[in-house]
């Protein structure tokens, strides 16, 4: 008897989202196994953020299905998807501006994964742990308005991590950071992944994809163009074409 393949943690089947006549995400299929770390790349407008919005329930699908540990989560309210253990960050950070860094993260800990529910005291204790993990411990009691942009990105990740997700969706957390800050952020993503969290991240910085991802999925015009090991995928002709245009890709090849 052959071994039954383990159910993937996250499974996308023909996921499609249209805005007017434009299919921003068009029949996307892929699977993410528990404990994996997968990068989604693609040119601007490829549908990367839309895809994350579909997974976290902000957008309703026009067709297709999204399964979480074998059960469909398509059409579920965003807070219920978060309660299942799918956390996320936003490309443009959305901190709770009226609060301190610590309170922001504590709210993540107070809500988030339903089976990880905790009281006020434990939530603030967990917030302190997570702030240390992302390197914001010294600034815990500062209001959000006093934080720098890289710190706000850390806070965004910290709040998502504090929800104790099993899957973390990261939307361009490295964008706008300098090289040193990217290295720190990479370290942060690695340490979060090391705690057993599956990570699905959107990134433009290829160094990040090659540096942390085991697998990369390339989106172009809402479709999956290529999928595989990052080094292999990035050498794929179709991928170079999608990024640089056909003519430049040919020149690159002939030179």
């Amino acid at each position: 008897m052959s071994a039954v393949a383990a159910t993937p943690q996250l499974e996308l089947r023909g996921v499609t989202k249209r805005f007017g006549g434009v299919a921003a995400v068009d029949g996307v299929n892929f699977e993410v196994a528990k404990g994996d770390i997968v990068g989604i790349i693609g040119p601007n407008g490829a549908g990367k953020t839309t895809l994350l919005n579909c997974i976290s329930g902000i957008h309703h699908l026009d067709s297709g299905d999204i399964r979480w540990e074998g059960a469909s989560i398509a059409g579920m309210a965003p807070h219920r998807i978060a309660n299942l253990g799918i956390g996320r960050t936003f490309q443009i950070v959305k901190p709770f501006g009226s609060m301190t860094a610590r309170e922001n993260v504590a709210i993540g800990a107070l809500f988030g994964s339903a089976h990880m529910r905790r009281g006020m005291k434990q939530a603030f204790a967990l917030a302190d742990e997570v702030l240390e993990l992302v390197g914001l411990k010294a600034k815990a009691d500062q209001p959000v308005s006093a934080l720098t942009i890289p710190d706000r990105k850390r806070l965004e990740v910290a709040r998502a991590v504090a929800t104790r997700p099993q899957l973390l969706l990261l939307d361009e957390v490295m964008a706008g950071l300098n090289n040193v800050e990217i290295d720190e952020a990479l370290e942060m993503v690695r340490s979060v992944h090391a705690t057993g969290v599956t990570v699905l991240l959107i990134e433009h910085v290829m160094r990040v994809i090659v540096g942390v991802c085991r697998r990369a999925i390339v989106l172009d015009s809402g479709r999956v163009l290529a999928e595989g090991e990052p080094e292999v995928v990035l050498r794929d002709e179709r991928v170079i074409e999608a990024y640089l245009g056909e003519r430049y890709a040919k020149r690159l090849k002939s030179s």
């Binding site: 965003p78 978060a82 936003f90 609060m99 709210i107 988030g112 006020m120």
Partner: protein, 289 residues
Amino acid sequence: MANFVQLVILGLLAGGIYVAVGVGFGLVWGVLNIVNLAHGALVIIGGYITWQLFTALHLDPFLTLPVDAVALFVLGYALQRGVINRIIRAPLLFTFLLTFGLNLVLVNILLLIFGSDFRSVTPAYAGKGFEFGSIVIPYVPLISLGAAILLSAGLAFLLNRTRIGLAINAIAADRDAAQLVGIDLRHAYAVTYGLGAACAGVAGGLIALIQAITPTAGEPYTLQAFVVVILGGLGRVSATVVGGLAFGLVEVFAQSIPGSGSVFANAIAFGLLVLVLVTRPQGLMGRLR
């Protein structure tokens, strides 16, 4: 001098009612971005509950306040969940229309049940007070002020120290981020409106003690709640407390001007509002955002 002290005392005592009326209104406005024109109707429902319990069961009116709060919380939660939630992301004008309509419906239901007769709640200690020489501190407004401060402190505690309170703060700060950390927006909205209504109910109970009520008696309080919240500054309970006490003081001092009466008092109170809006648009205690 004694006269001045007496006016300050009376002003602060009068402010208690405005604090109670203002805190719930400010909460709903600050968190849900709804200027709740049905606030006055909710206030007066609280008044009728106190009157009914006082008349039928001879309960002390101040002991009926928790009943007002619980009953109005339930009503407010249901109203938000069933009706107001439909326009939660709509432009401000829609919220005006809907809450104005709700106000009419609620007032007319009260007219059907209680008629338009004046109802008053007069416990044995009404009209009495402490006397220190020429200064008098009447019991009812004193206990009312205490109840209003207690109500505000309870609300502030709930908002800053409890799970649902932090959820309410989070949705006020960023709705999208709040739902993606797992906060049920519809429930949190409904609790917010329920708390606003509960505060209105307590305010109504206090109002029934200082004036005779009719189903339409709540309407001026919607306007006064609006002024109090602007005066103090939107977004914090403590700011509304300051706004309410300031409004009470201004009103009492304005009424004390010989030949003034309530007409002048209103003109001065609203003149002050305009002055605050021009010089400190964030309110006396507000922070610029």
